[in-house]
């Protein structure tokens, strides 16, 4: 029907029928998958930038970009072309190797995470038994890029910004990890496809409402902080640090940081969707077969992206509502509130699983 598995199988069978060597088929498929992920990466970033600008404008009672194309949808493409054509200013007295590799590390971190996500039924790059662990691990790589960028720029603002980013991300990784661990207890597996299969009848948030809701809120706050956005945008606090860790970057180098920021926003929402809200599983009520059949007509990729974008909207709502935290308030929130609650929630979830499962 509208599922993507049909197209994927068709490509696979066509290649198998026409190319004799199976290693060549595999190679071509790997290249196709890579190109597909790159295209998805770029398109998602463009969509998110447009989405953010419109939503932000609506929260401020403006209309936002609405001139280029219908509803201004081509504005982001024009901006992309602009940023590609901009001059790359070469900075003196920098650590050249680190300076020019920092943004690739940032991009690489978010791109590696893409490989582990599950976008629809049977649509994913890699599916392995430590999926949650892998996502946590590779999504933290980008902070290394941020630290390198701040250090190599030889600029006090950039250094302060990247140090703040380091303190922030390392702290909030704990809460994010704890809340995902809570969900791993409920699912009984770290494998993303198993986690999603477990939620076929009811999403985790309906299976164990209290601990899952606490974990979801903690994860969203921690994830929001990890993307360096919203009330947690201390690393690039423009009123104090010019632009933070990417002060010295220009043109497409800055574009890479920008791109990674927006895709990280999507990645956080996607992980939350998969682990808490059932991934691509349609909304099902046990017993109501007619209703379930209607829900099944909606393609799974629409379910996944719908839920992810709902979470992204929530994140934008938070971002445009609250003022920026001070660094001590930021650390207070993590170490004195989120972490105790996360630990308590871990125990609560264990008890819940023993009693109800």
């Amino acid at each position: 029907m509208l599922e993507l598995t049909g197209i994927i199988n068709w490509i696979h069978e066509t290649l198998m029928a026409n190319i004799p060597a199976s290693w060549l088929v595999s190679l071509i498929e790997y290249v196709l998958i890579g190109a597909g992920f790159l295209a998805l990466y770029a398109v998602l970033a463009l969509i998110l930038i447009y989405f953010e600008r419109r939503i932000c404008a609506f929260f401020q009672c403006r209309l936002g970009p609405n001139r280029v194309g219908p509803f201004g949808v081509f504005q982001v493409i024009a901006d992309m072309v602009k940023i590609l054509l901009k001059e790359i200013i070469s900075v003196k007295h920098i650590d050249k190797v680190l300076f020019y590799s920092a943004f690739f590390i940032v991009i690489m971190g978010s791109f590696l995470t893409f490989g582990g996500l599950q976008f629809a039924r049977g649509v994913h790059g890699a599916d392995f038994n430590i999926g949650v662990f892998y996502l946590l691990a590779v999504s933290s790589i980008s902070i290394v890029g941020v630290l390198i960028a701040g250090w190599a720029s030889n600029n006090k603002y950039a250094l302060i910004g990247s140090m703040r980013a380091g303190a922030q991300v390392i702290s909030y990784e704990l809460s994010a990890g704890l809340s995902l661990l809570t969900m791993v207890i409920l699912a009984g597996s770290m494998n993303l496809s198993t986690i999603i299969e477990e939620q076929a009848d009811a999403w985790f948030i309906f299976q164990a409402p209290i601990p899952v809701l606490i974990a979801l809120v903690i994860y969203l706050i921690a994830g929001h902080a990890e993307t360096n956005r919203g009330p947690f945008d201390l690393p690039e606090a423009e009123s104090e640090l010019t632009a933070g860790y990417h002060t010295e970057y220009s043109g497409i180098q800055f574009g890479f940081f920008y791109l990674a920021e927006y895709v990280n926003l999507f990645i956080i929402a996607a992980i939350a969707t998969i682990v808490f809200l059932g991934g691509w599983q349609p909304f099902h009520i046990v017993g109501a077969d007619g209703f379930n059949a209607v829900m099944d007509y909606i393609p799974t990729w629409a379910w996944f992206f719908g839920k992810a974008f709902a979470l992204i909207f929530l994140s934008l709502w938070v971002r445009w509502s609250f003022p920026r935290l001070r660094i001590d308030q930021l650390l207070h929130l993590e170490w004195k509130i989120l972490l105790p609650f996360g630990l308590f929630n871990l125990v609560l979830m264990a008890v819940w699983v023993i009693i109800f499962k």
Binding site: F58, F59, C61, L63, N66, S321
Partner: protein
């Protein structure tokens, strides 16, 4: 421990109130005017200072006495009041307005001229499309050709209104200054 939990839940409640307010803003009507599309329909708000005008009634009469207070108060010498002397029907000499020149190009829209005008003869209009191809067209004559001062002003004055108006209106102005 109680205080700790209480502060957390009151904090969450406060954050949710903030998000409620922003959601109200999200759903509110947007203030942006899609300008070229709503051209003609768009009405700027009342106090918007578009350009200086001199309202004329249906008999092509205005209220300006040519006293020149606006010209004296204008910080940029944007206004130039040119008067002429005529002889009225009963043989008395009288000073009337000849040309009221207003240079839109140097106006800073401070509004001092309309504030000080004793006759309320000049007013701001909402017209805001000022772009022209030649700077000299920005100098406008505000009194219509062939117009004259409206006779019998609301407050009944002695025979020479131009002479009477000035001291009569200087007095309240001085009072204001004393008060301030």
């Amino acid at each position: 421990m109680i205080n700790y939990l209480k502060s957390i839940f009151s904090g969450i409640w406060a954050l949710m109130q903030g998000m409620y307010i922003t959601m109200l803003n999200f759903c509110r009507k947007k203030v942006t005017e899609p300008y070229p599309e709503n051209r003609g329909k768009h009405q700027p708000f009342e106090r918007f200072r578009g350009e200086l005008t001199m309202p004329h009634n249906e008999n092509n009469e205005h209220k300006c006495t040519g006293c020149g207070i606006c010209q004296m108060n204008c910080p940029n010498h944007t206004i130039k009041v040119i008067t002429k002397n005529i002889t009225t029907e009963d043989g008395k000499p009288k000073r009337v307005l000849d040309q009221y020149l207003y240079d839109l190009g140097s106006c800073i829209f401070c509004g001092l001229c309309t504030q000080v005008c004793p006759q309320k003869a000049i007013a701001w209009s909402n017209h805001f499309e000022h772009a022209v191809f030649d700077r000299s067209t920005l100098v406008k004559q505000l009194n219509h050709p062939g117009s004259k001062k409206v006779e019998n002003p609301v407050v009944a004055k002695p025979a020479a209104p131009a002479a009477a108006a000035k001291p009569a209106n200087d007095a309240p102005k001085d009072n204001n200054e004393n008060k301030n």
